[in-house]
Amino acid sequence: MKGVVFTEFLEMVEDRFSLTMVDEVIERAALSHGGQYTAVGTYPPEEMLALLSALAEISRSPAPALLHMFGEHLFGRFVVGYPAFFAGVTDPLDFLEKVDSYIHVEVRKLYPDAELPRFDAERTSPKELKLTYQSPRRLSDLAFGLIVGCGKHFGAPLDVSREDLSGGSGEIVRFTITRP
């Protein structure tokens, strides 16, 4: 997993909680190193899960909610870090529709070792998009947060419902997204 996910996660922890919380989360996650993540590095995805459960335990919050929160935070960071992807786009559904066919394609060019999910997009109407997430990393809560963050960024609060298509494993999740 790309280092940017880790650095952004820890920054969010510092913002929303405190530097002490960052310290404790790292301590508790019992990593094989001291938690010195750099955005340009690549780290095992399990470390992300370890950090997340550590945060959940210490903050006594459910992990899915934290992941969702992280998704929203991360989207804001993408807006700052990758303005090119936003050029000329005004509709959040238009943006989300292209995540798989364009954005993650470009992301892979930038970082050939990125581990990206698969999204199948189906634009059922101008106001509705069905986005099916598929990934062995089961981070649909992160996707959820990113989607909500996207709506917020475009100033169009989205109505998102989700449905697990993989018998509760979280590997395949369909989001039905509508905008006002």
């Binding site: 650095t7 530097l19 002490t20 960052v22 310290d23 404790e24 938690g35 010195q36 993540y37 750099t38």
Partner: protein
């Protein structure tokens, strides 16, 4: 455990290590990029090299093909002239006979044969000239030329042609033209072409020739009051085999090569032909020839560099070649270099002359009928009397190593490069 100072210390330590890790990764990426860039560069250079090689091979092939074509044309023209001379000669004789016997119709028919034959001959001569020019084998013979006499001569030759179309012929010479160092044959032919061209395309008008000489050189202006040309026709004027219209050739005759040849002659002499024309308004062709430049820039081979006449302070070289043009060319180069030359038309004669003349060196063609160059070489090397004479193989075939292995002292490819041959001779004779 949550001592703030400790927390900050650890945070700081993480930042420091993260920075180091980032720097390491950055360095690694930079190197990868650098290597990638280098390998791309090498690949690109390799491709460029490869293309360059391919292009140069293609270019060499094209040059070789064009050379072969010119040589073929030159040879063919040569071969065509021999039977044509017989046709012309015998029809002339028959015409005399017919005239004596009072057979008017036969005289008429035989004259037609001669006219057609002469036309064919001029066509062949033109093709030969052009192919020589294009093969870069048209040599210049520079000598002191009495220009006034030359103009008088051309005017006399061309007058009947001009007057045939009921044209007035107006010749204006501004002062004396004097003497110039130039190639008389080429100037004569060019003037003749320009004048007969003007005559052909003008009927019941005036053809005029103005000649002058000044600081810049010689100017010969040929003006006619004939049909003139459009811009388009003018643009094609100096292209071989082009006349204003295909029907023009039938109506006016001519090979269509005259102007192309004249133009190239003018260029060879360092000059140019300039045209002013408009449809219905006649045309003016002006031949410019520089004076001193032509003489100093052009190579100055001597006329008829044959055997005994040439200065022989460097000794005698025997040229064995079945091709007359090649013999002549080699002869001229060698004469220029100060050698006396002797010629042999075939292998047999070559061996005999080598024996009787004992030349200082021999240039030997390979492809010859009956006794080829290799046989000549082995005969020469087998005779103690002549075996020590250095033999330079001169051939279109790239068989240097074969030549050297059977006893040649050096090898020069045809068409012969003057400097190359001179250098080879110097190496082996001095």
């Amino acid at each position: 455990m949550t001592n703030p100072e400790e927390v900050y210390k650890r945070a700081l330590e993480r930042e420091r290590l993260a920075r180091k890790e980032a720097e390491r990764l950055l360095e690694q990426k930079s190197r990868e990029l650098y290597d990638f860039h280098e390998s791309q560069k090498r690949e690109l250079e390799r491709l460029v090299d490869e293309r360059t090689r391919e292009l140069s091979v293609a270019r060499d092939q094209a040059i070789e093909a064009s050379r072969a074509k010119s040589q073929f044309l030159a040879k063919m023209s040569h071969e065509l002239r021999t039977p044509l001379n017989a046709i012309l000669g015998y029809s002339e004789m028959l015409e005399e006979d017919a005239k004596d016997a009072g057979r008017a119709r036969d005289v008429d028919d035989l004259r037609k044969i001669q006219v057609a034959g002469k036309h064919l001959l001029s066509l062949i001569n033109d093709v030969l000239d052009l192919s020589k020019i294009e093969a870069g084998q048209m040599a210049l013979y520079l000598e002191e030329v009495d220009l006034d006499a030359l103009v008088r001569e051309v005017v006399a030759t061309v007058r009947p042609i001009v007057e045939k179309n009921r044209n007035a012929f107006d010749v204006q010479l501004t002062g004396e033209l004097g003497v110039a160092r130039t190639d008389v044959t080429k100037v004569r032919q060019t003037l003749f072409n320009l004048l007969s061209n003007a005559a052909k395309f003008t009927e019941g008008g005036t053809v005029s020739l103005q000649a002058s000489r000044d600081r810049l050189g010689l100017r010969f202006s040929v003006r006619d009051t004939g049909i003139g040309m459009t811009e388009e026709q003018k643009a094609q004027l100096f292209q071989p085999f082009r006349q204003a219209e295909p029907s023009t050739a039938r109506r006016y005759g001519g090979t269509g090569l005259g102007l192309a040849i004249s133009q190239r002659f003018a260029e060879l002499l360092g000059g140019a032909i300039e045209v002013k024309t408009a449809p219905g308004a006649g045309s003016t062709f002006t031949l410019h020839l520089p004076l001193s430049e032509a003489a100093s820039e052009a190579p100055a081979p001597q006329r008829g560099a044959s055997g005994s006449e040439a200065p022989s302070h460097r000794g005698l070289v025997l040229i064995i070649d079945d091709d007359e043009a090649a013999r002549e060319l080699l002869g001229r180069i060698l004469a220029d270099e100060g050698y006396a030359v002797a010629f042999a038309r075939d292998g047999q004669q070559g061996i005999e002359l080598a024996r009787s003349l004992k030349p200082r060196a021999i240039t030997l063609d390979v492809v010859m009928p009956k006794v080829d160059g290799w046989s000549v070489l082995s005969s020469l090397k087998a005779e103690p009397e002549v075996s020590a004479i250095p033999v330079i193989v001169v051939s279109v075939l790239g068989e240097r190593s074969l030549a050297m292995s059977v006893g040649a002292c050096d090898y020069v490819t045809k068409p012969v490069d003057r400097a190359d041959l001179a250098r080879v001779l110097r190496t082996h004779l001095e």
